[in-house]
Symmetry: C2
Subunit: 411 residues, 2 copies
């Protein structure tokens, strides 16, 4: 008889799992900065010098002494002497003296003596010599000062940040063409079951192709981990135990998608218990799909037993595998789960006390978004293929009626 | 003097750009299915056979003839004869005859003669022989029939779908270990400017490191394209023209981040105009940051002139480059922009008639999310590094007050 020790609410179970992980000790590796897209920065990055390194104009215009423009207006312009052009990409040696103006381009170095820039549109050059200024500028107007973006030794990118295009740009602005990132945790992936065969194999009657190994590999890649798939394991304690031990020794984390039967799931739990302490933290989680989930930390390594059902395995991996990989990677960025408000097109029932995740087809119409729940027996994989979002039904809700406005999360 | 022909609203400009792209003609390539994660399926995928291929039990229990259980209850169980166990992963040859029950595991093949499965929890086996059934089951209860997931020749994954872990699972369930995907469009990336130097170079006074080439490369990778960076181009029509022509001939799309000055931007537009028809569709877009954007399609190839300012370039690339790459990839999936509702912490002003995208720091507190606008001169790159979301201010809004609830989009 299947025995779930105690069905735990998913949120509590996840908290317990994360709390039992050891302090972060990931190894680092140095890679090209452009390849670091979506990787996790290993160390705090401090500015080696200020940015910008010289005062720059933010507009096309004339570098001036701001005092020379005071009181300037359309009806009573200040008249300055045009005194040449500041070259781009070079030290500007020519000074702006009182009464002078030097033509400058956006991004160009402010000439010595200038303390502001008048926009081109607010000037008029007559006879190539007399420059009319139609508006006064204040001190440092249209100028970025040295260090206005960052000062030397500013913490500009904290360790644990997932590197986006903008961080790559930030690193490049300091010439950091190589960067240290945290190594991807190696995640061992095992599928067990007497009825499953490798995807490339032609199944015999009674057999089905294993799809969990590849879906979990893909999900691990998406989450920032490095999947290590192992061969399929028959439902037999000795073989399962040896295979799990091997993966446990070789990897930073182990996922086991159990055979579908209750006895196999219990077998998985027994095998996990032998790996180390504290061992199994949750055996059974109060969520549909995914009840027969096993969450464990064994001597510092997370080991997760996932339901054999491929749809359940995907939903559960979102809830438990992704956050664990984030923690193994030392990701510090907050996770936001943006929901989309949509009108539910059919009634959805849910047992009280149990969280439900219902796949939906989200579509947009003239009156906003609608979410069509996909009902299915046994979580057929191609029903999930049709879905593009999940409706989350909290444990204290017993159902949602057609027409209700609900929040769905994109898949 | 800089001349924007006419500032176009971003939405209209994008529509015009996409409408002028030719019909999709992307080349295909066959790759390993697991490597196809996030790639775009090239052809409609039809089911080569039904799934499942044999009737399967969805629970652990006993395969029976449903008629034998009619009227069964806790107080008056049906009594059937325990007649062995259906092996997992093999053809089940033993038939269920009237009055018989065969033990079956989740996912196992339903024995011939059986038409339903009674859950283990609703039975009791006495003396290893007599099986009490406490609840009646109806025809096909707890069974998935042949083809209940998909039938032969069902369209199971449409061309243009971005491949997620679940699609990889679906393909594997048919043994499709290789798959045809659309080739990534090659996107040429050029940065021009007399003041910019390669990131690995030590800038001299007046020079700054080029960061647009790498931020745009990263953004192109994120969007599914294949970036091809070119060397930095000085601000000179002849050199720019030659470099752009080379990239145009070698790539499927060209991005040019112009030198920051107005004259250079006009130079870029002049160079683009020579490449083909219809040529420049928008020169200047009514959005901040990013006004000096040039959108063009030249003899079927998109060419986009981006602002030299790195922050503007990133915002504009989100608005225009990503959708173009999606179209070049023939992506058919709907785009949903889930917003997060947050309380704005400071007033934000905006000119009427102009769309604004304001970087914000989104954080969560006990009373929900808050969005802190980042104010900056000239779009300093490290200010955008601090941001994790963008506040979109529509063109007809002149500002948003502190305390207002706003929708922000995650960066």
């Amino acid at each position: 008889m299947p025995q779930f020790l105690k069905l735990q609410p998913p949120f509590e179970a996840r908290l317990k799992l994360l709390e039992n992980l050891p302090q972060f000790t990931s190894e680092r590796e140095e890679i090209d900065t452009l390849s670091a897209l979506k990787r996790v920065l290993a160390c705090d990055f401090y500015a080696p010098h200020p940015l910008p390194e010289f005062p720059r104009s933010t507009v096309d215009g004339y570098a001036v002494k701001s005092a020379d423009t005071h009181g300037a207006s359309e009806s009573l312009p200040s008249i300055l002497t045009f005194s040449g052009e500041a070259p781009m990409g070079q030290t500007v040696v020519q000074s702006v003296r009182p009464g002078q103006a030097i033509l400058i381009h956006t991004g160009g170095m402010l000439p010595p003596g200038a303390d502001a820039v008048v926009m081109l549109e607010q000037t008029q050059l007559n006879n190539g010599a007399d420059l009319e200024i139609f508006r006064s500028v204040s001190l440092n107007e249209n100028v970025i000062l040295i260090g206005e973006d960052v000062h030397t030794n500013d913490l500009v990118i904290p360790a644990g940040r997932i590197i986006r295009p903008v961080e790559i740009g930030g690193l490049m602005s300091f010439g950091a063409t190589r960067v240290e990132v945290n190594k991807r945790p190696i995640v061992g992936i095992l599928s067990s079951g007497d009825e499953i065969v490798e995807p490339a194999t032609q199944p015999q009657p009674g057999q089905v192709r294993d799809i969990n190994t590849t879906t979990m590999s893909a999900l691990v890649i998406e989450s920032g981990g490095d999947p290590r798939p192992y061969p399929i394991i028959p439902d037999n304690e000795e073989t399962l135990s040896q295979a799990v031990m091997k993966a446990y020794n070789e990897c930073d984390m182990v996922l086991i998608t159990a055979g579908s039967s209750a006895s196999t799931r219990d077998l998985t739990a027994d095998v996990i218990k032998k790996l180390g302490v504290p061992g199994v933290l949750a055996h059974g989680v109060n969520v549909r799909p995914g009840k027969p989930t096993i969450l464990a930390v064994c001597d510092g390594k997370p080991v997760i037993g996932l339901p054999g059902n491929p749809v359940s395995a995907l939903v559960i991996a979102d809830l438990f595998v992704r956050p664990v990989i984030r923690k193994l990677l030392n990701v510090s960025d907050a996770v936001f789960h943006p929901g989309i408000t949509a009108r539910l097109t059919a009634n959805v029932s849910s047992a009280a006390g149990r969280e439900d995740w219902v796949p939906v087809i989200l579509s947009s119409g003239s009156d906003g978004y609608s979410a069509e729940p996909i009902f299915f027996k046994s979580n057929l994989i191609f029903n999930l293929v049709r879905a593009n979002a999940l409706l989350h039904i909290e444990a204290d809700v017993t159902g949602v009626l057609a027409g209700a406005m609900v929040q769905v999360e994109l898949l």
